[in-house]
């Protein structure tokens, strides 16, 4: 396999309150021989909140981030579901709306940049699974996670809306003409945007990528209904009760189905689920106590990294049983 090389868009959280996400991502890349070039020029993606205030500005800023990956001639990878979605939503818009693209490029020209649409944008999870390959990851496992029941928590912004993720997260597009699978209503349903799951195994109602990754690391993937549900992070300030109810329900569901640990590819889910266990537990009237790892932390552990290398001390709910 030729050496894999990506431009890494870290997002804000990995540089601030979840430093363990960045260190474990870099540790995984080093162990697997993947080259990551940090996009230090990039700004915040707006996290869907700037989008609520000023949609156009958020398009301009996200387009600028992509520009820097394009300048390097590299595919971009993200390590935050919300960064992933906001970046690909910008990409979708600019790639299909020439008028908007011109408006955005007019602004970017003022700082000497141009959005061209030449870099793909994917979550690191899918780069690991589809580019590096689960079998190749399996071969590198030195500390199998075989003693652990691991609950995969997918996070909304990597699985919905599926037609967008299908295009951007999927490594290989289906061969031409494979879309038509006999729709009975006389319509060409999903002709343009086939259901993601058919080709990548990622069905928003029954996603499998994290499950397959856990199994490649020889862990046992916990089956539970909440794995594709919302953690409530985005309303944590204005509607903490909604957020606590959603976080608490998801964590309780994982615990009640035997989870020793929860793992997620999204640092916003991780932060919410790791930090809010006490308040969510109080609201739900039950004890909630389960460590929540970032996806790269889990992979790094299996590849033999030390707890220090993957910043386990920064996890609020201590994961002492894991090493």
């Amino acid at each position: 396999m030729s050496k894999l090389k990506y431009a890494l868009y870290t997002g804000c959280t990995a540089r601030e309150s979840t430093p363990e996400l960045l260190s474990s991502t870099l540790a995984v890349a080093e162990k697997l021989g993947i080259e990551l070039v940090l996009l230090d020029e990039a700004s915040c993606c707006g996290a869907s909140h700037l989008q609520d205030f000023d949609e156009f500005l958020s398009l301009v800023l996200n387009a600028r981030n992509i520009c820097y990956a394009e300048k390097l001639g590299l595919p971009m990878v993200t390590i935050c579901n919300t960064c992933q979605l906001n970046t690909v939503m910008t990409k979708e818009r600019l790639d299909h709306d020439p008028e908007m693209r011109a408006k955005v490029n007019e602004k970017l020209a003022e700082v000497g940049l141009e959005y061209k649409g030449t870099s793909s944008v994917r979550h690191f999870l899918y780069a690991l699974i589809d580019d590096y390959g689960l079998e190749n990851i399996s071969e590198k496992v030195v500390k199998p996670l075989s003693h652990f029941n691991i609950a995969p928590f997918y996070g909304c912004h990597n699985i919905r809306p599926s037609h967008i993720h299908y295009k951007h997260n999927a490594a290989t597009l289906p061969p031409e003409g494979e879309y038509d699978i006999g729709e009975g209503g006389g319509e060409m349903l999903h002709h343009e945007e086939p259901l993601m799951s058919k080709y990548t195994g990622e069905n928003p109602y029954a996603p499998t990528s994290l499950d397959r990754l856990i199994e490649a690391l020889e862990g046992k993937a916990v089956q539970y209904e909440s794995k594709n549900k919302c953690c409530g992070f985005h309303v944590d300030l204005q509607a903490p009760e909604t957020s606590n109810a959603l976080t608490g329900t998801a964590l309780s569901d994982a615990i009640d189905n035997g989870a020793d640990v929860v793992v997620t590819p999204c640092p916003l889910c991780q932060l919410n689920m790791d930090l809010k266990q006490e308040s969510a537990g109080k609201q739900l009237g039950r004890e909630i106590d389960v460590p929540v790892l970032h996806m790269p932390q889990m992979v790094a552990l299996a590849l033999g990294c030390t707890p220090e290398e993957i910043g386990l001390k920064y996890n609020v709910t201590k994961a002492t049983g894991l090493y």
């Binding site: 804000c12 020029e41 000023d54 500005l57 009975g184 919302c230 300030l237 509607a239 920064y314």
Partner: protein, 334 residues
């Protein structure tokens, strides 16, 4: 569609259907009943519902009417996926979920009988946003009221809503907050607010700006976008309503609007979001309710609010570009 001749032999597949059964008048608890059938490649979920009723149990209940995707009556969930029964090919779901399909009503807690639910809350919330054009219409106009193609384009996809309720009952915010108006009501609020004939835009923006019931309680999970059989994309309309609140100066300064606007404040300074500042700025004095979490973060070494040397915000390279772009691209004010 490709014009290659398809294999004419119908390829049936053996499917096990587990259907939710419940009669609110007689049953203490719901239960699931299993039906096995050979499913043809052109059969719809509605065909399977019919076959349960016609071939197995005449008391099985579900809503259906137009059977071509326009009346919005037959929405159910199959293996958790909201579908319009009359539009959804059954074998496609077998490809997705395997040969066991679970049929459930859109909302189990609102079940009246089997697939039939009480949709009262949906209609009540829909009505709350004035889902109609409010205008003083001259009964004898001298000329037609014309709309430009652009004006129509603006609300056309929102107009495709058939009120099936798939998004409404897929919304997790609504599940835990009964005041929340929900994605279908918001899509309707948007549709009529951007209609050039309408005069109730401000009313609707005020209704949907309320904390607790309005758009600010959207959790941004995209379940509504995924659930819609008509590609209305309700969450996109929710984002537009957010933006319109600022454009029409309806937005008041509160924790939610400051949270949205506060992003610019940070990005201007650092390129990144200052996670501590956004909480302080949005909450004001309300920040005290986050103290217990703040202590947990300090203890884990995640944040260092009292240690200036350690609380070093990262800065994006070429920050001046970001600042310039904000200056020349900003459209809204709070």
């Amino acid at each position: 569609m490709s014009d290659t001749t398809k294999n004419t032999a119908p390829q049936t597949r053996k499917v096990t259907i587990k259907a939710f059964r419940f009669n609110a008048e007689t049953d203490y608890l719901p239960y699931y009943k299993t039906y096995e059938m050979e499913v043809g490649q052109d059969e719809l979920i509605l065909d399977l519902l019919n076959r349960i009723k016609w071939e197995h149990d005449g008391s099985f209940s579900y809503r259906r009417s137009c059977r071509h995707g326009i009346c919005g009556a037959c929405g159910i969930k199959v293996n958790g996926k909201p579908v319009l029964s009359c539009k959804q090919n059954a074998q496609e779901l077998v490809n997705l979920f395997g040969d066991e399909l679970v049929f459930e009503p859109q909302s189990k807690k609102r079940a009246v009988k089997d697939m039939v639910i009480d949709k009262g809350d949906f209609w009540q919330k829909h009505a709350a946003v004035k889902p109609y054009v409010e205008a003083q219409v001259d009964p004898h106009p001298e000329s037609e009221t014309l709309m430009s193609p652009e004006q129509v384009e603006n609300f056309l996809d929102a107009d495709y809503c058939i009120q099936c309720g798939n998004c409404h009952y897929a919304c997790p915010a609504l599940e835990v907050n009964e005041d929340y108006l929900g994605p279908a009501a918001f899509a309707a609020a948007y549709r009529f607010s951007v209609d050039p004939r309408d005069e109730a835009t401000i009313d609707r923006l005020e209704t949907t700006a309320e904390l607790g019931s309005g758009v600010w309680d959207c959790v941004k999970c995209f379940e509504c976008a995924e659930a819609c059989p008509k590609d209305v994309n309700p969450i996109e309309k929710i984002t537009k309503l957010h933006n319109m609140q600022f454009e029409h100066h309806v937005a008041e300064r509160n924790v939610a609007t400051k949270h949205a606007e506060g992003f610019i404040r940070s990005i201007k300074k650092f390129g990144y979001l200052d996670e501590q500042d956004i909480v302080l700025y949005s909450e004001g004095l309300g920040v005290v309710k986050h103290l217990s979490e703040a202590f947990k973060m300090i203890k884990a070494g995640k944040v260092h609010p009292f240690d200036i040397a350690k609380k070093k915000m990262p800065r994006s390279k070429n920050l001046e570009e970001i600042q310039k772009l904000i200056e020349i691209s900003k459209t809204n004010e709070l």
